[in-house]
């Protein structure tokens, strides 16, 4: 069982940071929807409040790490230009996808959308954290502000889902591979 360093980075970026953000999103949406509704009479204690503050902060950090690793570590490997005359395009995912009409759309639509739409996520969730950090339980007194934050979080969930879906499909059709090989475990061979 082996993995290359580029493969490992892609795994950490998508399955680690990105997937964790998607998982966390539903929890934050439910908590903000349920506990901070204007007509909810149940008291919010400081522990609940602190939990959501740390939760949203963690989501913002995750979102930033995801887009920064994607844009500045993995994307350069993805869009690398092969030397003239290269026949085997395995190490050049963008060129590999564009070399076939059947897979070209994964780049021209999938990656082109993913690389931009993903950046809406950290902007939205950072705003959500900042608003909650300032207003906390007082958000119940500002239903329209709460509605705006919830809407941004739902769009960020959608944007992260789009980026995640295309990331997975791109990696399926043209995986980002290369660099050193890391031996994970010795398996049985027949």
């Amino acid at each position: 069982m082996e993995i290359t360093t580029r493969g490992l980075w892609t795994l950490v970026h998508g399955m680690g940071f990105g997937a964790l953000y998607l998982l966390a999103c539903s929890g934050a949406l439910v908590e903000l929807w349920r506990r901070y509704a204007p007509n909810d009479l149940s008291p919010v204690n400081e522990r609940d409040e602190a939990l959501l503050r740390w939760y949203l902060l963690s989501m913002a950090v995750l979102a930033w790490i995801t887009v920064l690793t994607g844009t500045y570590i993995i994307y350069p490997w993805y869009r690398a230009v092969p030397p003239v005359g290269t026949v085997n395009l395995t190490g050049y995912p963008q060129r590999l996808l564009l070399s076939n009409v059947a897979t070209g759309g994964w780049h021209s639509i999938g990656m082109e959308w993913k690389e931009h739409v993903a950046w809406l996520v950290p902007i939205s969730i950072t705003m959500a954290f900042a608003v909650f950090n300032k207003h906390r339980r007082n958000l119940r007194n500002h239903p329209e502000l709460r509605a705006a934050v919830l809407s941004f979080m739902m769009i960020s969930f959608l944007a992260a889902g789009i980026a995640g879906f295309f990331g997975a499909m791109l990696n399926k059709h043209a995986p980002v591979e290369g660099g050193q090989t890391i031996h994970l475990m010795q398996g049985e061979s027949r």
Partner: protein
């Protein structure tokens, strides 16, 4: 003196204004929209594409995202400073910001971006 103090009603706790929240929401909407506009501009205009090439291995995406984040943060700081003690029509601010965010989502979709 003590009886006078006791009879003086305490001032009502000042309600928190929504200005800083409105600033954060609107700045996020405008920042997202600027990202979509810059992405289209760098795709269609070679001069902008070249200008946005902040970091060669990442290409124009580096400039598009860095500039959009800069626009977002600067606008946030300015609006927060101007609106910090104000109560705004949050419904309207929220709707404008949300429309900008949805437009950003749509405008970054290549078949729509290619219409320009």
């Amino acid at each position: 003196m003590s009886s006078q103090s006791a009879s003086t009603p305490k001032p009502a706790a000042q309600a928190m204004t929504n200005g800083s929240g409105a600033a954060a929401v609107l700045a996020a909407g405008v920042g997202s929209f600027s990202l979509a506009v810059l992405a289209i501009a760098s795709d269609k205009l070679p001069a902008i594409k070249s200008l946005m090439n902040f970091y060669r291995p990442t290409g124009p995406l580096s400039g598009v995202t860095t500039t959009a984040v800069f626009v977002w943060l600067m606008l946030w700081i300015v609006l927060r400073w101007r609106w910090r003690d104000r109560n705004l029509a949050m419904g309207r601010v929220g709707r404008v910001a949300l429309v900008l965010l949805v437009l950003s989502l749509l405008l970054t979709f290549p078949p729509i971006a290619d219409l320009f």
